[in-house]
Symmetry: C2
Subunit: 133 residues, 2 copies
DNA sequence: TCAATAATGAGAACCGTTGTCAAACGGAGG
DNA sequence: CCTCCGTTTGACAACGGTTCTCATTATTGA
């Protein structure tokens, strides 16, 4: 279950984990790096990138690609497969699951002869607060 | 009805449309540019990029972002909303639709107070041919 | 045909990300 | 506690896809 191998705990990694734990939205590596720097925590940008992708492959954080091609990261509540509904304005994010969708994706792919099926699904809209504004 | 505004017809745009019409898989701008160049059709790379995104906003082609962050384009059979099942090995692509998924996405977002909901969904796997190989 | 305007192309610029490599660090053994 | 060695870090260069610039060329409508 998410074996993180021989990775050593470092001050930088801890700071990064903290930063992620306190954020409800998806954030870019550069954004996170800027926050750490602003709060006085000196961490190299390359280190932020490296650790984020290590955490991503270990399933500790979720990654999604924004429309303009940058990767954004988030420490989700659950490690299990799920999807996100993200507010286009403020970034507010909620995690959702649905067996129906999972089955549909597998079924429709199988109907066309595909195997080892995977999928990506992201939902976005205007959250209640932003719509009210 | 996808108004393409005041766009003027050009030799380059026509060549690009031809190239896309003859392809069943999603292809990158650079790939398309290389093909055009190889076949003796001189077109600037910037022009390929510009026209592809113009065609994309006009709904003439579909765009998806690959895992390594490049945009790939395809002239799909239908202009209506649909999704794709793409073979991870050969790129073979089939278009699929499913009301159930569309409704689920809207419903789950609405449950959390979101409005003006949109979604992206891509499915990938191994096509029958590649699995048999 | 002629001016007005849109499209093109070559190359530079951009920007998120990854590679480089010497210095700093953490951990197991002594 | 000290040393040794593989891991991690960080400053900076390099990379790759995409976008910008702007002078030149093509299209349109009169
Ligand atoms: Zn919002
Ligand atoms: Zn799913
Ligand atoms: Zn295949
Ligand atoms: Zn859909």
């Amino acid at each position: 279950m998410t074996d993180q191998g021989t990775r050593r705990p470092t001050r930088q990694r801890a700071a990064l984990a903290d930063e992620l734990a306190g954020a409800a939205e998806f954030r870019s590596a550069q954004d996170i790096h800027a926050s750490l720097t602003a709060s006085g925590t000196r961490v190299g940008l390359a280190t932020v990138y490296r650790n984020l992708q290590a955490m991503a492959t270990d399933g500790e954080v979720d990654v999604i690609r924004t429309g303009d091609g940058e990767s954004v990261y988030r420490a989700c509540a659950t490690a299990q497969h799920h999807h996100h509904v993200v507010c286009r304005v403020c970034g507010h994010t909620v995690e959702v699951t649905g067996d129906a969708v999972e089955r549909w994706a597998d079924a429709v792919a199988a109907e066309h002869g595909f195997s080892e099926v995977r999928h990506t699904l992201e939902i976005d809209g205007l959250c209640a607060d932003c719509a009210a504004r």
